[in-house]
């Protein structure tokens, strides 16, 4: 969700910059603008006093400007906090099967999953984060692989052991996971 918002807003800002900058550049380099365009030749200025104060006397102008700026401030404030806040799932709702539910602390599930994944063959360290909603959690896993293991095999054991275990123990229908694998840095060993 946030990814889409980020990309749309970045794209919009980019588009505005590109259009304004490109138009000024084109007119300034001698291109003839159409008659309705704000600049009418390369001797024109960016924003003349007459253009700037065009609606100065009207009653609606300043309230509109202030309202628009306030809106922009609020929106960017919301955007900035949404980007900066790292949302972590604090609780997972466990379906116990008897009509009642239980709450599992997100950190506990993260710790168990990270411990499980860290025990797997060829995994030196695993970091786990939970996201999503309490009744539909998702997980992000980062594995640091040791040299001897094949990444495909490591992914397979992770899926079949650690992730399946976590999914079953929390009673979840599905536990979508995003896995990133990196390698532990090491020197090449010479075989001769």
């Amino acid at each position: 969700m946030l990814r889409t918002v980020n990309r749309v807003l970045i794209g919009l800002v980019g588009l505005v910059l590109l259009v304004v900058g490109g138009a000024v550049l084109a007119v300034g380099l001698g291109l003839n603008p159409p008659s309705w365009w704000i600049h009418d030749g390369k001797k024109d200025v960016l924003l003349s006093d007459a253009e700037r104060t065009r609606w100065d006397g009207e009653g609606w102008w300043w309230p509109t400007v202030i309202a628009a700026l306030a809106l922009v401030v609020l929106l960017t404030l919301w955007w900035l906090t949404a980007v900066l806040r790292r949302r972590r799932l604090t609780e997972v709702r466990v379906n116990t099967g008897d009509g009642e539910g239980a709450l599992l602390r997100g950190r506990a599930l993260e710790a168990v999953l990270a411990g499980d994944a860290g025990q797997l063959d060829g995994v030196q360290r695993a970091q786990v984060g939970l996201k999503g909603r309490p009744d539909a959690p998702e997980t992000h896993v980062r594995l640091h692989l040791e040299p001897h293991v094949d990444p495909g095999t490591a992914l397979n054991t992770l899926t079949e052991e650690a992730l399946a275990h976590a999914r079953n123990s929390a009673g979840l229908d599905s536990l979508p996971a995003e896995v990133r694998m990196t390698a532990v840095k090491h020197k090449a060993e010479r075989v001769s």
Partner: protein
């Protein structure tokens, strides 16, 4: 199997296609030997690139917009409340109204703004995360990516196991693995043939959705061994 399906009491239907149990068996038995077979249904989906959230550019753009809008809002509100406008705003109005469009600095500014805009559009439209290679899906719930450095390191380790290879360097690109090995004994052709076989296997074992093409170069070490 039992781990995946749960114990008797909490047996759950997993959201997978009907033939899942067969594939489980296969992949479980194959797990000991090599990479798992790829889920047919998920193969196409697994090939999708990872898309970056673009957090840092978003934070910078949001912060700049917030600052600019905030300062303008403050000053305009202050003027409405019958205080004098801040000096910079009169200066800005003068700067906007005086130089003509073909003034060098106006052109430079416009060029910078257009380039910045183009860059932001590129950021918004491209996936990013070029360092993460998508792996093929072995389970519908699991999306995995392998960092290019890690893939290169695995290939280098496998190359070093070939007899006659003294050192190996791997440049992993998104569609091609470029392996340069230095050999200190055996015929170069033999070494290259062995490297080809070993590395092809190693690339399969990486479990990537789109396995990179392999190119192997073998050179003789410059110092002859006495």
């Amino acid at each position: 199997m039992s781990e995946l399906q749960g114990s008797e009491g909490t047996t759950q239907r997993l959201p997978v296609i009907e033939k899942a149990p067969d594939q489980r068996d296969q992949s479980a038995s194959a797990a000991a030997y090599g990479p798992p077979p790829v889920l047919e249904g998920g193969a196409g989906g697994g090939a999708r690139r990872f898309w970056s959230a673009r957090r840092i550019p978003a934070a910078i753009v949001a912060l700049l917009l917030l600052l600019v809008a905030g300062i303008f809002l403050y000053d305009i509100a202050a003027v409405r409340a019958d205080r004098p406008a801040m000096h910079w705003r009169r200066e800005l109005a003068r700067q906007l109204a005086e130089p003509p469009l073909d003034d060098t600095w106006v052109l430079v500014g416009a060029g910078v703004a257009a380039a910045l805009g183009l860059w932001l559009i590129v950021l918004a439209a491209t996936p990013g995360l070029r360092g993460v290679l998508p792996m093929s899906r072995t389970h519908p719930d699991v999306r995995a990516g392998l960092h290019r450095d890690a893939a290169a390191m695995v290939l280098r380790d496998r190359a070093m196991e070939v007899a006659g290879v003294q050192s190996a360097r791997v440049r992993m690109r998104r569609k091609k693995a470029d392996v340069r090995a230095v050999s200190h004994f055996r015929e170069l052709d033999d070494v290259r043939a062995d490297l080809d076989v070993t590395l092809t296997e190693a690339i399969t074992a990486l479990g990537l959705a789109r396995p990179p093409a392999l190119s192997v170069h073998v050179a003789r070490t410059t110092r002859k061994k006495g």
